[in-house]
């Protein structure tokens, strides 16, 4: 027993040192990327930002900075993808939204349509909405247990439950991570050809410009069946597409 305590302490200290070393390494990558981006070394900054994102948790800020560096490296397709990812992580990131519209203009594709969901998520923090909804729902549920004999209290509890569930549903419905989970992005600089059937020599329906977003309906090997922004459907080769939400 006497020997076990020092050994546990030793292990803890070693783990802390390793963790702090790793953390300081990540921090170095990010600060290095930022300093290089500030000095105009965008190619190297992009490499470091991407390295950071591979090892660290995703961050709207880092994706935005990566997008800025890509834009300054004359790669608007990659820039638009990273701005989109920044917006998925933080829909209230207005600077990223403006940057995305500029990147879309550079790509020559029409700006994203603005609907009520976009307007809502750009103003209301979804996590706060979700947590509020959950808390309100639970309060309502506990109130039903406490005072079911008093009618007014019961109505109050029911309205709390309804409001809470509505807020949770709204947060679920508007969360871009749900909405974009089946969407892919045309990253290839040569665009993406849309075929009528999943065969190389099948009829070509149209060609999507880089920066276009398509909704994936199903996949068959290297072929993806999806819906175009205009509503038409067709087959694409997965090589030219990148998932909007990175696949881990």
């Amino acid at each position: 027993m006497r020997n076990k305590i020092p050994s546990t302490l030793r292990s803890g200290i070693v783990a802390l040192i390793l963790l702090s070393g790793a953390f300081s390494g990540w921090g170095d990558d990010l600060s290095d990327a930022r300093s290089r981006a500030a000095n105009g070394e965008h190619a190297e900054a992009i490499r470091l930002f991407e390295k950071h994102l591979q090892t660290e948790r995703p961050s709207a800020s880092v994706y935005f900075e990566l997008g800025e560096s890509a834009m300054k490296s004359a790669n608007p397709a990659s820039a638009a993808l990273n701005f989109r990812r920044a917006l998925i992580l933080d829909p209230r990131f207005e600077t990223a939204r403006k940057a995305l519209s500029e990147a879309n203009l550079a790509l020559g594709i029409p700006p994203d349509p603005s609907d009520w969901k976009v307007n809502l998520v750009s103003k209301v923090p979804l996590n706060a909405l979700l947590i509020t909804g959950v808390v309100v729902s639970w309060i309502g549920l506990f109130l039903t247990l406490a005072g079911s004999r008093v009618r007014a209290r019961l109505i109050f509890a029911a309205s709390l439950i309804f409001s809470g569930v509505s807020m949770v549903a709204l947060a679920w419905f508007c969360d871009p991570r749900i909405e974009f989970s089946h969407q892919s992005y045309v990253l290839s600089s040569s665009g993406c050809v849309v075929f009528n059937a999943p065969v190389d020599n099948s009829e070509k329906l149209t060609k999507l410009a880089p920066g276009s977003v398509v909704t994936v309906i199903s996949e068959r090997g290297r072929w993806i069946y999806g819906q175009l922004p205009g509503g038409a459907r067709g087959w694409f080769l997965s090589e030219g597409l990148e998932s909007l939400i990175p696949r881990t």
Partner: protein, 590 residues
């Protein structure tokens, strides 16, 4: 001998069946359209008749129609014999226009039959292209001379029709592959022919609905496939043979001796009585096209490869644009030509505007992408305050005239303000006018944004959130159980049940009590059973028991105030009291 009788009977039966067929007269043109001086055939068919009278000439202004042939035909299909007379007229168009050939009167025996009127379209100049159910564009037609030999019935043959035999490099030439099968033969036809070659590209073959056509007086079923051929180099272009596989039921020979039997009765074997299955490959004949390069004379600078006949429409939206807001010019190029290869129109007078490469979308109006509408969208942002958008210019080569044409669109009136949307809304700084922005020209900004999630998984899918809610749900579930149990315990049924248990315990104590406290305990029992009025217990019970209760009540009252309080009850009294109280407790518990 028996065999001959059987065959005779069969022959008579077939003749009788043939007599049941209704007589009718039909008329059909070998082609629904032609040009002045190009004759077509009008075939009048009279079914189930050996003799008929038809007019030698038919009077139609602008057409010369004369009878020049008569033929008799016998057919046997599935042991059904039909005979028909065919009269062939030559129709020579004298003028261009639309003509209706009136019903032709056919006298059969004592009856007069009438055909349906036939319509003929006559064009001035060369014959029209591809008279198909799904017509191709109005271009002069040139067909390879694959025709069945006159006077001989050909069971099947192929044909390639080109809308023209001289084309420019890059021009789309509509073509149709046709495979003719004599209507008397049946069979199965392959899905599509093999078609291709060097020196040209072809659109995917598109099915033309099956139809019937008269060629040299014979009725044929026609399978057609349309495509668009685009020559890629100048010179003589040979379009090779294309083959269509088919399995046909072709007329076969009868078993040995069968024909001899028919001949003994002086008759010939009916055609179609014996068939055999045969796999065949029907070929079209190769056709040579003359391909010429695009003319250099008069070629506009903005010519982007469009060859055909087009018209252009454009619109601009919105009419008012705030600083940084884009204006979209939508251009519709409609017509016939090589849409797949054409470039976008050119913007003119675009000074003060920032523009980007347009998007395009093609909506074909036919299966071979020769006719349709191509939409281009230009996104423009004003660099300076502007009241007019840029204009548009679109040039193409008209293959009919061999000259370049230029379509123009005047600038639209708009109100566009220069500048960026908002200072803070310009994350990438001032974008240069070039389609690919030059990054170093933009103001560098350092934005370290704080906020947003750090996970691609939404909060409501994260384990921590789910576990927390599960814990709260567990607490709520336990609370619900507690509330329900509490409610149950407070219910009247549970109270009565618990009181019954207490009374049973009292009875047990009373039974064990043998001294003077017996009446005190019996009084407790009675009080529990009847509340403040033990007398009320006497209602609804036998008289004997009620008497015992009254006696007990009196004895209890006496025991409170008299010296007999400590007197022990007799065994008889105990027995009767115990019996009545036990009975009352049992009823109470129920």
């Amino acid at each position: 001998m028996k065999m001959r009788v059987v065959i005779l009977w069969v022959g008579l039966l077939l003749a009788a069946l043939a007599g049941l067929q209704a007589q009718e007269a039909t008329a059909g043109l070998s082609s629904p359209s032609t040009s002045v001086g190009q004759p077509v055939e009008l075939v009048v068919t009279v079914r189930d008749s050996r003799n008929a009278e038809v007019p030698q000439t038919i009077d139609v202004a602008g057409l010369r129609i004369e009878l020049f042939g008569r033929a008799t035909r016998f057919e046997m299909n599935n042991f059904k014999v039909t005979s028909s007379l065919t009269y062939t007229y030559s129709v020579v168009p004298l003028n261009a226009g639309e003509f209706t050939i009136p019903p032709i009167e056919v006298k059969v025996d004592k009856k007069t039959l009438k055909t349906a009127p036939a319509r003929l379209s006559v064009m001035a100049g060369a014959p029209p292209a591809l008279p198909a159910p799904q017509p191709l564009p109005n271009a002069p037609s040139t067909r390879s001379d694959v025709q069945p030999p006159a006077g001989q019935v050909t069971p099947y043959f192929g044909d390639l029709l080109l809308s023209k035999k001289k084309a420019y490099v890059g021009e789309v030439v509509p073509a149709e592959l046709r495979y003719y099968f004599n209507s008397r033969i049946s069979g199965e036809v392959g899905d599509r022919p093999n078609f291709g070659g060097e020196g040209f590209t072809a659109q995917k073959l598109s099915h033309v609905p099956k139809r019937e056509q008269i060629v040299n007086g014979e009725n044929y079923v026609v399978f057609g496939f349309q495509t668009g051929i685009t020559p890629v180099k100048s010179g003589a272009l040979e379009i090779p043979t294309s083959s269509l596989e088919a399995r046909l039921q072709v007329p076969g020979s009868p078993p040995p001796g069968f024909a001899d039997i028919f001949q003994q009765f002086g008759g010939a074997l009916p055609p179609g009585m014996f068939t055999s299955s045969r796999d065949v490959s029907i070929d079209t004949k190769p056709v040579t096209m003359e391909v010429v390069p695009l003319p250099k004379e008069g070629k506009p600078e903005n010519f982007s490869g469009a060859i055909g006949k087009f018209k252009m429409e454009a619109s601009a939206n919105p009419k008012k644009a705030a600083p940084g807001d884009p204006i979209t010019i939508k251009v519709l190029v409609t017509g016939q030509g090589n849409f797949d290869a054409m470039g976008a129109p050119e913007l003119t007078d675009d000074e003060g505007w920032r523009s980007y490469p347009p998007t395009d979308k093609f909506e074909p109006a036919d299966a071979i992408h020769f006719t349709g509408t191509k939409t281009f969208e230009f996104v423009l942002i004003a660099k300076q305050d502007r009241i007019k958008t840029p204009g548009l210019k679109f040039s193409y080569l008209d293959p009919a005239t061999g000259k370049y044409e230029t379509l123009t669109q005047a600038p639209f009136d708009v109100e566009a303000k220069a500048g960026e949307a908002k200072p803070e809304a310009s994350p990438v700084g001032n974008v240069t006018p070039s389609p690919t922005p030059k990054p170093e020209s933009k103001a560098s900004r350092s934005v370290v944004h704080v906020g947003g999630d750090s996970s691609w998984t939404p909060l409501f899918k994260q384990p921590f959130f789910l576990l927390l809610n599960l814990a709260v749900a567990t607490v709520w579930g336990l609370a619900l159980v507690y509330v329900l149990v509490k409610k149950l315990l407070r219910s009247a049924w549970m109270c009565r049940r618990s009181e019954a248990g207490r009374l049973k315990r009292l009875i047990a104590d009373l039974e064990a009590c043998e001294d003077g406290r017996f009446y005190d305990q019996a009084a407790d029992c009675l009080a529990s059973l009847g509340g403040a009025d033990p007398e009320s217990l006497g209602e609804g019970i036998p008289n004997a028991d009620a008497e015992v209760l009254r006696s007990l009540s009196e004895r209890i009252a006496e025991s409170k105030y008299s010296p007999i309080a400590l007197a022990k009850p007799t065994a008889d009294e105990r027995g009767r009291v115990m019996q009545v109280l036990t009975s009352l407790v049992s009823q109470y518990a129920k």
